[in-house]
């Protein structure tokens, strides 16, 4: 469980192809750095990646593996 304000590295996305490529087009690829702005678990998260902020809904954040 990543805390708000922490910066982590994405290792992989464990989702179906549709969601996977959608996240990939928005910059969420293996080895990118992302920062958790708001940890809304189990609800939506707000993260910051490559200069932009995004909301990841319930379930989506769970599929993103980080280290």
């Amino acid at each position: 469980m990543v805390k708000a304000g922490e910066t982590v590295k994405l290792t992989r996305v464990n989702a179906g192809r549709g969601l996977n490529i959608r996240l990939a087009s928005m910059g969420l690829l293996p080895n990118v750095t992302l920062t958790v702005v708001t940890n809304g678990h189990p609800g939506p998260f707000v993260i910051s990646v490559k200069d932009s902020k995004m909301v990841l809904g319930r379930g989506v954040a769970d599929k993103i593996m980080v280290s």
């Binding site: 992989r12 989702a15 192809r17 549709g18 969601l19 996977n20 490529i21 959608r22 996240l23 990939a24 087009s25 928005m26 910059g27 690829l29 293996p30 702005v37 708001t38 809304g40 609800g43 939506p44 707000v46 490559k50 200069d51 932009s52 902020k53 995004m54 909301v55 990841l56 809904g57 319930r58 379930g59 989506v60």
Partner: protein, 687 residues
């Protein structure tokens, strides 16, 4: 006069719409792409003796086959072959924005990049080596500041230059790395040999890339089975090396290319950790403050809409009343004429009631446009998501529903923000259950007639609550049955906050307002005329009206007319609900517009003129019906058939009559069943 077509592409929130407005002014036309409910916006611009048609493609992060908007954008580019494609890039967020640019580059389109929001980029301390970047990407780059209208002529110059060059070099390649390039080579050879037509249309390299990504749309167009098995073999091979889908690795390589290009050409001179947007978000998306802040803002929006709209609405009503008198005055007093009746009762009466709502509607749209353009709406969806999830919907669904408290027509239009078609349909189906402003006139009549002072507030609140609860239940049911399925995972960008410009907000507001006017106005006009005819004919014989007061005459005419007969005909069906033919005629009339219910009932009770109207009508209702029936009337009106304007807009937004009619009949059936149950149990309990 030269004529060219230019497509505008770009990420959502890149300021693409502002650029589109900057280039085309108010000369825009909104429609749909054929066969899909994706909005198509076109606009004209005349510059340097050239007529440019701009087509605003749907905002997208990529050009895959996974979403209808992306597919529509991609197909437009391939099929319509615009002379130039302008990619509007948010310069303060460049890496992600360039991902789309790379996709366009791979399609070999004549490309111009508009580095929008360059003022923000400067503020963030970003310095671009435009020349070198332009060379690397092989596209003209023009810095712009859309909302300040800066860069317009430079952009237009670049567009014309690029269009006139007319070169279509097939040399734009992203290097995907040895293993992938090897597989791409194999596929490309087979494509050139086995699918010459496709290769000609799309370009063999681009086809190979899409096929290796296993793009569903392109793959479906293949004829050659040999090609399919080669692709699968290649994909399997890559999967085994990288433990990842080919399309993900390729996305990664594209970002790698972008990263490299940006590293060489962009310098960051200022280290800013926290921006104003971040600070505002800390409050607005806070776990505890977020929801109350949102509710407060919504309350303010409604307050604004109805308070500020009161005066113009009253003015409009006066205007229509005056117009009615003026036209009636053209005929000698006491004289009867079908034309006068048609104009005054039918047209002005019918259409006037709906048009009087226009100020309210426009103000609501204005507020929403402001919230959207400022970036707050995205935060609202985030805040509401947790709550909506509990009832099986998306955070974004709440916004159209909220608008439905004002009027269903703009609410249903607002459902466009829901990307998931099933979510959108569900939301559209239940929006009429959010008691709209028109229904309030019915409640305002019934409640004081049947309920003592202290029960009035709670009664009104109860009706609204029932509407909301039914909407929740129906939405859940629909999601479990007809519109079953995974909801699109909630992934949404939070753009930085911006101060919207008056111009953009007004254009935004007017686009929706005009649609409401046009659609609701034309349909309402037609139906008003039909209803008027049904209410006026057939006429009773003249002699039977002798010696009666004007109000009595009205009542007998109504009884005798088509609508009156229809009311009598359905009376047996309405009896189990506690209704009689008079209520029946009012219900039929209210199908056009809910406000008509009150005026119809007034005529049925031979209560004339507005001055004495409500009081006397209430007395008569009280004499004829019980509070139970009063409640049943409100319940029925709450649920049954949405007004004609709503049906029309549902048809427009869902692109089919079946959903509109389904909404109409399902809601009516639900109303009937529920009112039946309530009335029967109620009378049993009282008896």
């Amino acid at each position: 006069m030269e004529r060219i077509i230019v497509a505008l592409a770009g990420n959502p929130n890149s300021g693409k719409t502002t650029i589109f407005n900057m280039l085309t002014g108010a000369r825009q036309h909104v429609g749909n792409y054929p066969g899909v409910t994706v909005e198509k916006k076109e606009g004209l611009c005349r510059y340097n003796d050239c007529e440019i048609t701009f087509v605003d493609l749907p905002g997208a992060y990529s050009l895959t086959a996974y979403s209808i908007e992306e597919l529509v954008a991609r197909n437009f580019i391939v099929d319509q072959r615009p002379d130039v494609v302008v990619d509007v890039v948010d310069a303060s967020n460049i890496e992600r924005n360039l991902y789309l640019a790379i996709q366009l580059i791979e399609m070999d389109v004549p490309l111009v990049l508009a580095f929008n929001m360059s003022d923000l980029a400067k503020q963030r301390g970003l310095v671009f080596d435009i020349d070198q970047l332009s060379r690397l990407l092989k596209a003209a780059i023009v810095p712009t500041v859309g909302h300040k209208e800066k860069g317009r002529s430079e952009l237009l110059d670049a567009i014309l230059d690029t269009a006139r060059q007319r070169k279509r070099e097939r040399t734009h390649k992203v290097n995907y790395g040895e293993e992938i390039e090897q597989e791409l080579g194999k596929i490309e050879t087979l494509v050139v040999a086995g699918e010459p037509q496709l290769a000609q249309k799309y370009g063999s390299r681009w086809l190979a890339v899409k096929l290796l990504e296993q793009d569903s749309d392109i793959t479906a167009r293949l004829n050659s089975k040999e090609l399919l098995s080669t692709i699968n073999a290649s994909a399997d091979h890559l999967r085994s090396i990288y433990a990842e889908e080919p399309e993900i690795i390729m996305a990664d390589r594209r970002y790698g290319f972008i990263s490299g290009a940006c590293h060489e050409t962009i310098k960051s001179t200022v280290e800013s950790r926290h921006t104003t947007s971040d600070l505002i978000d800390a409050v607005v998306t806070n776990r505890f403050l977020g929801l109350p802040i949102f509710l407060l803002l919504m309350y303010l929006v409604f307050l604004l809409t109805f308070k500020l709209g009161e005066y113009p609405m009253a003015c409009l009503e006066q205007l229509f009343a005056w117009a009615a008198k003026a036209i009636a005055g053209l005929w000698p007093a006491g004289g009867e004429s079908w034309l006068k009746s048609l104009l005054v009762d039918g047209i002005i009466g019918g259409v006037g009631g709906v048009l009087a709502f226009l100020p309210n509607i426009l103000l609501l749209f204005l507020a929403i446009a402001f919230l959207e353009d400022s970036g707050y709406m995205a935060r609202a969806a985030f805040v509401m998501d947790r709550v909506m999830h509990k009832i099986g919907l998306h955070g974004k669904s709440f916004i159209p529903m909220l608008i439905g408290f004002g009027c269903s027509v703009p609410a249903i239009m607002a459902a466009r923000i829901l990307e998931n078609h099933r979510n959108q349909l569900t939301t559209i189906m239940v929006i009429p259950l959010m008691s709209c402003g028109a229904r309030l006139t019915i409640y305002a009549l019934i409640i004081p007639a049947f309920f003592a002072e202290k029960w009035r507030g709670p009664m009104l609140w109860l009706i609204y609550l029932i509407g909301i609860i039914l909407a929740i239940i129906c939405a859940r049911l629909l999601r479990l049955t007809l519109f079953r399925g995974e909801t699109t995972p909630f992934v949404m960008e939070l753009p930085p906050y911006r101060m919207p410009t008056l111009k953009s907000v007004c254009i935004h507001m007017w686009q929706r307002g005009w649609m409401y006017l046009r659609k609701a106005g034309t349909v309402i006009l037609g139906i008003s005329i039909i209803l008027w005819a049904a209410m006026s004919y057939p006429k009773p014989a003249g002699h039977s009206l002798e010696g009666l007061s004007p109000d009595e005459i009205h009542r007998i005419r109504l009884e005798h007319s088509l609508v009156g007969s229809a009311g009598r005909a359905i009376e047996p069906v309405l009896r189990p609900l506690g209704f009689d033919w008079k209520i029946g005629t009012a219900l039929i009339g209210a199908a056009a517009a809910k406000e008509v219910f009150v005026s119809q009932l007034a005529i049925a009770y031979a209560v004339g003129g507005d001055d004495e109207g409500p009081h006397t009508l209430r007395e008569k209702l009280q004499a004829d019906y019980t509070p139970l029936t009063g409640f049943c009337i409100m319940l029925f009106c709450l649920i049954y058939a949405p007004c004609v304007a709503t049906v029309a807009i549902t048809r427009h937004e869902t692109n089919s009559w079946s959903w509109a009619l389904f909404q109409f009949f399902a809601l009516t059936a639900l109303a009937y069943v529920l009112t039946f149950i309530v009335y029967q149990i109620g009378s049993f309990a009282v008896a």
